[in-house]
Point group: C2
Chain length 133, copies 2
DNA sequence: GTCATTACTATCCATAAGGTGCCTATATAT
DNA sequence: ATATATAGGCACCTTATGGATAGTAATGAC
């Protein structure tokens, strides 16, 4: 059994395994970014909306609801006017945030490499075109 | 500057940053699983199709093309009959595979926690229902 | 009275993701 | 002659996702 095999009967490669659905949930750029943003500490909806450039209110709410449902984020409502709601990572969420931050760092570090690779790929497609009559 | 700030001008929180598009590319369960599967070593299309339970041939091809375009996977074609094509991680891909494997392990380890959280969440919704007329 | 604030909800719509089925090539085996 | 194996491509269709837009509540400021 190597590190590609499941440790305790859970195997993300199997469609029906609970861990597979967890992976599905994590496979969203807004989940990544929201969890990373909350690493700093609790934030309000508006703060998150400003931090997560380009997110729509709908997506933000939807993402936070999923994270809350799955026990990664805690939502605290202050019964005041105007409304005040704060979000923070649970312990489980903080645990995950470390990993997701590494992915984010990786993306930032290797963005140039991937940009180059994409440029080469599209250049090759140009070449293919060039040899056609 | 804390670990949530970008190190070299790259910032995945910014919509137009190249690292944001990298994150978008990574945010796919099939990308996760394909890269994890290739960690063992080079594999043929058919092997991958069997390993990635539930993937359609179309999605498999599409995922491999994206990974190849972005320089994470190398595709080698043997000009034989019947066709033989092998895929393997590039150095960049292997670099990433370590991180993605950690995510996969996390998903497998914490699948029970998240299952519980989901169960609690839906139980609470039931409660909400119960107090309605 | 009405405007701003805040954190949402509720719609609608365009796009994208994903699924299905059929097609290609050719050497070997039956 | 027909079937099999392999790695796709291509066209079509349905569903899901994301985005845009507008609306809600309750209060204090003006």
């Amino acid at each position: 059994m190597d590190s590609n095999d499941a440790p305790l009967g859970y195997d993300a490669f199997r469609r029906t395994c609970p861990s597979h659905t967890v992976l599905e949930m994590l496979a969203s750029k807004w989940v990544y970014l929201t969890v990373c943003a909350l690493r700093r500490g609790r934030m309000r909806n508006g703060e998150l909306a400003r931090k997560l450039e380009g997110i729509t209110p709908k997506m933000l709410t939807q993402t936070l609801r999923v994270l809350e449902r799955d026990g990664l984020v805690r939502r605290e409502v202050y019964p005041v006017i105007p409304p005040r709601v704060e979000y923070e990572l649970t312990e489980l969420g903080q645990n995950l945030a470390g990993l997701l931050s590494q992915i984010r760092s990786w993306a930032e570090e290797h963005a140039p490499d991937i940009k180059d690779a994409r440029a080469r790929a599209s250049a090759n497609r140009q070449d293919d075109m060039a040899v056609l009559p």
